[in-house]
Symmetry: C2
Subunit: 192 residues, 2 copies
Amino acid sequence: MGTKGDGNRRRIIEAADQLFYKRGYNQTSFQDISEATGIPRGNFYYYFKTKDDILGAVIDNRLDALTAMLKQCEAAGGTPLDRLLAFSNILETNRDNVLESGCPVGTLDSELAKDDPQLHEKSRQAFSLLRQWLREQFEALGKANADELAMDLLARIQGVTVLACAFNDADFIRRSLKDIQDWIECRAMNQA
Amino acid sequence: MGTKGDGNRRRIIEAADQLFYKRGYNQTSFQDISEATGIPRGNFYYYFKTKDDILGAVIDNRLDALTAMLKQCEAAGGTPLDRLLAFSNILETNRDNVLESGCPVGTLDSELAKDDPQLHEKSRQAFSLLRQWLREQFEALGKANADELAMDLLARIQGVTVLACAFNDADFIRRSLKDIQDWIECRAMNQA
DNA sequence: GTCTATAAATAGATAGAC
DNA sequence: GTCTATCTATTTATAGAC
């Protein structure tokens, strides 16, 4: 329970989080994380038993960050519409990262879908968290098919990130975000 | 120009194509391709100078396959609407593969976006081919914003594949395909 | 808790016999 | 053209000194 140790553990997680996003999980080595943190390779095994364990800690860290982000969206306004619009704005606030490396949730999940099924299941938790929160917002709008709308919105955003990253096209993000927000407002106005 | 050599070259490309799709490019080793083909590792270097060269040949192979697929779509009907609907049906005809490994174009591009920029550029060619073909179909419908519609349709399809693969959800593919085809028909009916 | 040295396995790539 | 043997670098992971 040393303070020093926890600090190193956190630094490893933060560096791995960035590297897994920018280079991918499989393409990130212990040496990469070591160079990013200054912590020797051999020391990692004091904090994590395997590389998969680091991934697990990184995903848990991302779940915490996503939860905090969703809280921010809830603070953005009193109505579900305000919250959904705030959520969709992640496309614009994270624009530069999206253009360079895609969506951290989507690209990690796509990568791990081709690896071990257990790793894929772990990474899917991030999508599940977003899906559940979106579902609650659409339910608050009185929608009967809230889960379907949540999936539709997630899919729209994922599609935009994949194409925007592929073509490095910032204008496509801006234009698509407007379309998506129009779509959200349309759902907020219509009945059930 | 030996017949035997070309046969081996093709077998390597076909096996690598499948493995790059099912496991990812970086996670596929020469040993994997060797085991899949029965051709010894060292022999690969008679046909390809580097692993990247194999990737280049695989992408060229996929471009040929995509071109043939688009020809099929053109044969599906005389109107642009028929062709666009035929195109969108790839979501259903490739459903099982999509659920297991995502879209071969999208997942490879997302993976290579985190690698060497040159590899990313190479993989983007597949998206460009589809984008150009879709643009031509929307132009044939008299649309002024044909390229934007092409991007929108590609993004919709990509988003569905990412989410369907993440949640292994075949019903989501079926439901989304219907939405996408409604969207296409709506564009075909409206003016410019 | 921290770090060095190193093990064990695998990667991409080469050399050269046949 | 085909194949075996091998090189070099890198990977995850371990052992053990401090």
